[in-house]
Structures are given as C-alpha cells and as structure tokens.
Symmetry: none
Subunit: 416 residues, 2 copies
C-alpha cells in the first residue's frame, strides 16, 4: 500500500510552525508496512488543495490529511474532500454531543461555528477525538482511501494511534508485519552506547536497530519484518536480550514511557513514598512525578527552596552549612534531602541543588549539581554531577538523574 | 514571485527526521515577499524527483531544493536538475579547494566520492558552504529559477541567509516588504476570539490576520505587505490597536514569548516576590517560573502539597477546613495561598488545588480547580476554574491561569 501525506494549513507555508505531523505519520505508517512516497503541504486554499488531492489520487492508494478540520472559515479540508468524492457532509451525533459536553464542562458558551466541527463526510468511519473537538474521518471511493486527521499534534497523534492505525490495517490483505520495540536508556551517551554494541549494530539486518539520541537519553528502535507476528517478536526479543546483556544498567523502559513514569510505577509497586527539596530544579522533579495519575499515594510533597531563606527557614539547613559550604555543596544537598524527608514524612527524601546557568553560581560553573538521597536509618548518598548545555537542558537532565538513581536504589532493594 | 520548496531525502519519508528546512525557508522567503504555495518532500528516487520538479515548474517561478547534494550514490538532486534543464556538471575550483582544505584540516584522507561534491551545474551561481563541503547553486532556465541547498540545517541555514537570499533579491524588480507581528492571548477560546473580531477578520486583506490555537492559547499573526517598511509597520499597528480594543484583556505578549516569562519579567520589573502552594500542579508553576534565568530574585519558593498531610502539617491548613470542605475547595485554596505567602515570606502567595484527572477527586470532576491569590493586608481572591481535556492539559492550563491572573493583578496595580 502506497500513501501520501497532505498537510493543510497556511501557517505551515508561512513558516509559523513545522510539519511534525508528516514525520509522525510517516514513522507510524512505515511500522505497518505502508510506503510513503510524498509529503505535500498546501495552504488553506480550496483550488490548490483540490489540485494536490487530484495529483495524490493518481499516485497513492491512501491519502492522509492533517489539518483544516477546525471551526473557522479557513478550515476547508473535509468540505473540499467531500465535494471531490461526491459526498455530502452530515452531522455526527456523538461528535455533536461531545462538543456540547465540552462547552458545558468548561462553562463557556458554544458559538455556531463550533457546530461545524461535528460535520463528517457521509458514510465515512468517524475517528473519535479524545483531546479536542474535531473528529477524524476515514472514507473510501474507488481505489483510494482518505484519512482526515486534525492538525494539532496532541489531537492527531492519539487519534491515529488509537483509531486510525487500526482502520488502515483492516484494509490491508497480506500484511508483512513490521513490529518494532523501542528501548530507552539514560545515563550513557549515544556514542558510548553504540561502541558497547557496535558489533550488534554492524551485523544487523532483520531486525534492524536504529539508535536515536535526545534530551540526554538514548533510544534504540528494534524493527523486525515478518509475516508471522510471533516470529517478528522472537527476532526482536533476541536482539533486546543481546543488547541488554551489554548496557542493561542504563535501560529504563519501553516505548513512549518516561523515566519519571517508570519511577512512579516502581514507587507505587513497592509502596515507597518520596519527598523532594528542589533548588535548581525549582519544582520540575515533583511536577514530572505528579504528572502521572495516582502519584498522590507515593509523592508526599516537596519544597521548592529556590532561595537560601527558604532552605534555612522552611527546610532547616544550618546557617553554618550555607556560610561554610554555600548552597551548591554536598553538605547542603545532604541536609536538604534529610530534612525534606522528615518534614513531609516520606520514606525517601531527594534534593537537587546546583548551578543551572546561564551564569555561574557561588563561583560554580553551570552544570555543577549535587543530588542527595536520604532514607530512614541509612547513610545519605550524595551524587555530584557535572553537566554541559543550556539551563533548560541541565535542569531536565538533573531531574532524570534523580529518577535514574532512585530507580537503581529501588532495584537494588529488590535484588538485595 | 511564487516559490515551491522541495526537500529531497528518503529519511524524511521514513519519518526519521522532521523537515525543519521547509519551515526555515518559508519564513525567510515570506520576509522578502516571496509567496510559498507548496512544500513537497520526495525520496532519493530519480523518477519521482523528476515528476516533482516538472510539476513545480508549472506552478512556481522559484524552486528551492534542500538535500541530495552529498557525496553518496543516493544524492542525486543536482544531477537530476542538470539533466532536466539540459546543462552539464562541471568542477568548481573554489569548492574543490575548500573540500581538500577541509580534509587537511580534519586530518582525514579524502575519498574519490568527496570530489563529486565539487561538481556544480554549468553557468550557475555557486553558493559557498561555510559549514560543510557541498556547495549550493542558483540557476535559471526559461522563467524558472532553481536554488539547490544542502540538507543539514547547520549548512543550509547560513548558506541561505548569507548567499542565497541575496541572489533571490537580485532577481526581484520590485521588493515588497512583508512584516509580521505575533500577538499571544490566553483565557479566551479560538472561536470566541474570532467571534469578537469577526468583522476585522472578514475585511482583512493587507494586513492579513491569521489565528492559530494551541495549548489553551490563541495566537494572531498580523502580516502586512508594503514597499515601505514604515508603512507596513503602521498597517500592523493599526490592526493591533483595533484587535486589542476588543480582546486586549486576554493579550499577554508578542512573538516567541510564554505567559510564564511575561510574568517573570513583570515580577522583576515591579520587584514583587511570589511563593506557590501547588497541589494539582505539583510543582509545575514553580518549575515554569524558575525555568527563566534570574528568577531567584522574585520566586521565594514553594510547597508541593500533594497530600492533605503536607497541606496540614507543612502549610497549616486547618483540619476542620479539610474535613468540612475537602482539599478541592475555595476554603482550602484560600488558606494555602495565605499560609505559603507567610511561610516563604513573599509579597504574593498563590495556590492551586483541584482535580487533574483522569478520575474524579473528592467527587469533583477532573478540571475542577480552585486558584487563590493572597497579598499582605488585602482580601484573598479565589478563582474557581472549570477545564476539560487531559490531565496534562488541565495542569498546564492551570499554571497558565495562575500567570494570567497574576499578570492582571500586577497591571491593575500599575493603573490604580
């Protein structure tokens, strides 16, 4: 099956936003064995959209559209497609209800143009929008399939993964299954990891192993092609085993997870509670953990101790400590971790203090960080860290190091 | 002048990388008054590239290519264009020298296929590559201009800004300046805002006004075309004034800013300090504010009071309050804001409590939020909020509402 991706939106042609949807869709279509030969971007202009679709009809079996399903005048994707394939638009009850519900919920008054979002192409399969108001559509005429998806990635991505993908799979008779598994690593650089598994990377063929780096993490995507799902799975498992033998210590999870959600799950599983004292991370660590549903059971609380005043007054860091060693010190980190644990009554206290930059702090270069972990009746551990990069990068990676060390600790406890 | 951007590279169609070049080029072409009507992405396949170019020749005066200038077999952009426009490839002395120099500098030995990169289309203007080996080209046949640029952004971007842009300007007899300004709004939905300024949107022509929504915000890009920069600026200012007369209350900033950084700037300007008690936001608010350099002067600190235990023990929320009204209540929000202000010794205390979802909390639907703001010697203000969407979306928007209300308060203070 050959596909073409058409993104609709003048904001793309003006360079206001990047067409990340084309990448997402290409990646996920490749995974189910659909070949993508063209990406096209066209503005909110009916005639040019018509031209683009008529061309795509000639060269693709499946045309995936993103954008132009919104409530405003310049949103014209479904109107144009419907006209082209000789269908009318009809109100979709579920969609209309969910839009009305949305407005009731938010207490805002629904304007007429919002109703427009509930119009769908007659006879098409409606793809629910769990993160917005405009539903997606999957339609067929002649030999061509049309999938219409909303523009905003946070609406489009889950709609495709949860509903669109399955509709496409239904239409494919012989599917050469392309299964893939993503392994996520933290605490090791990309080139270091590649060196560790170099020979595996060299002899790869089926499955293929693609390394990808970003945000201080390394991702390995293992992709196997086979008609039998079981065989594809076996090939992937084999590769995973070989890889984890070498670099398992840095592996933290599969797929779309984050190291914070892996930590949250582990804390829940072991019913261990944590509290954080955050200086340079300023609340990021707690913010990331509590982003995961149900963490109230394990996140007791935290203190954002951005100023020495709060470090001393609220968290009881000794004035002498701050005077003698400064806030960016192992000693301060230790007291912060121990005292936040006490104050919030948690099993584990963790603290982050250091210089995030851009300027040095107390004479310490940006990237100088002290991370401490305190537990009842045990020696407090202090991890001194040295990082390069932007302020935002340093803060993000510091949070990930916190998750990394806590996970290691909880796993030790498991083994020991 | 109408342009089309063609990116060449199978890695784009496989979703391995995002086509950021199209955005960069669109933005910079718009700035010099070149209209971009299409983006196309095609793989490293000669026939499909030929088809794409022949189509572009029909609809554009200028075709800008990115990618496919490298040393490897699958790099075929210049070979294909040359053949299409009946030109040969010839070695470019400067390019050859700089390639040889590059290899000397890096102490690597130059392989034959690297020489291929010094081949340019005969009669074309060569665009030097200051950050890599493959030179760019600017050629003309008939009425069509062809600009060939390398794929890697760090090579393509400076090549375009330093050399390509000027070549295009030379070909334009009358240059229309395109100036644009971005206005950012929070606290009003896209369709509500459009309804407010509908008549302005309808009669728009020059300047044009393009609305864009995302993350609970609405963005308006005002774009004016004029030979005189001053006149373009005047047209934009006029439109901005008309718009802000209607929806100024929701406007928070220009261009690439965020509402959190606007708040940080305002707090610094007025030397007002803030402390936050974060229940459902779990540290996100403090995390966002402290992401901005130099906020230690205005962010005193904060308490992540995710559990009632911490709300009571650390922040002194009365047990009676929690018993009678629960944590998701105006009463709890009020005490949290007042006590965190006291505890951290800040001018303003702000609190966030509510149900982020996915499940109801204390019988409150996800999206039920109470936000309180406390100041010394003044009545504490409680804002009840109702939001829809995902847990992450609700938390993010709650933080933005916090910034929104604080900004409004600080502006009032300004006026009053």
């Amino acid at each position: 099956m050959n596909a073409e991706i058409i993104a609709v939106g003048s904001e793309l042609l003006l360079g206001q936003i990047t067409n990340t949807n084309a990448r997402f869709l290409s990646q996920h279509l490749a995974e189910i064995g659909v070949n993508v030969y063209y990406h096209t971007v066209v503005g909110d202009n009916e005639q040019r959209l018509v031209d683009a679709v008529q061309l795509a009809q000639k060269r693709a079996d499946l045309i995936v559209f993103s954008g132009g399903l919104g409530p405003t005048k310049d949103d014209l994707t479904k109107e144009t497609i419907a006209r082209l394939i000789g269908k009318t638009l009809e109100y979709n009850e579920e969609a209309l209800e969910s839009i009305e519900a949305y407005f009731q919920k938010t207490g805002r008054t629904m304007t007429e143009n919002n109703k427009k979002q509930a119009l769908v192409i007659e006879g098409s399969t409606v793809l629910p929008n769990d993160n917005g108001m405009a539903p997606g559509m999957f339609a067929k005429t002649g030999d061509t399939y049309y999938m219409l998806l909303p523009g905003p990635p946070r609406e489009m991505q889950p709609m495709f993964t949860n509903y669109g993908r399955a509709e496409i799979l239904k239409t494919m008779e012989k599917i050469e299954r392309i299964e893939s598994r993503v392994l996520r690593f933290f605490g090791i650089g990309e080139s270091a990891l590649e060196t560790e598994i170099d020979d595996i990377l060299v002899k790869q063929n089926n499955p293929t192993i693609a390394p990808l780096a970003g945000d201080g993490e390394v991702i390995l995507r293992i992709t196997a092609k086979h008609e039998s799902l079981a065989e594809a799975e076996r090939l992937i498992q084999q590769a995973e085993d070989d890889i984890l033998k070498r670099v398992g210590a840095f592996f933290y999870g599969y797929g779309e997870t984050t190291i914070a959600s892996e930590l949250a799950a582990k804390l829940k599983e072991k019913q261990v509670t944590v509290a954080a004292a955050e200086s340079l991370t300023g609340g990021l660590f707690s913010g990331e953990l509590t982003a995961i549903p149900g963490t109230s059971a394990v996140v007791k609380g935290g203190i954002v101790c951005y100023t020495n005043e709060v470090k001393h007054k609220v968290l009881g860091v000794k004035s002498e400590t701050l005077a003698a060693h400064g806030a960016v010190s192992a000693e301060c980190a230790k007291e912060l971790a121990e005292n936040v644990r006490e104050l919030c009554g948690a099993d584990i206290g963790i603290s982050f203090t250091g210089a995030a930059g851009p300027d040095p702090l107390e004479g310490h270069e940006p990237g100088t960080v002290f991370l401490a972990i305190a537990r009842a009746g045990q020696q407090t551990i202090v991890h001194p860290l040295k990082m390069a990069g932007s302020r935002a990068g340093i803060r993000k990676r510091t949070v990930k190091y916190g998750c990394h060390y806590l996970l290691a600790l909880l796993d030790e406890a498991e083994q020991g």
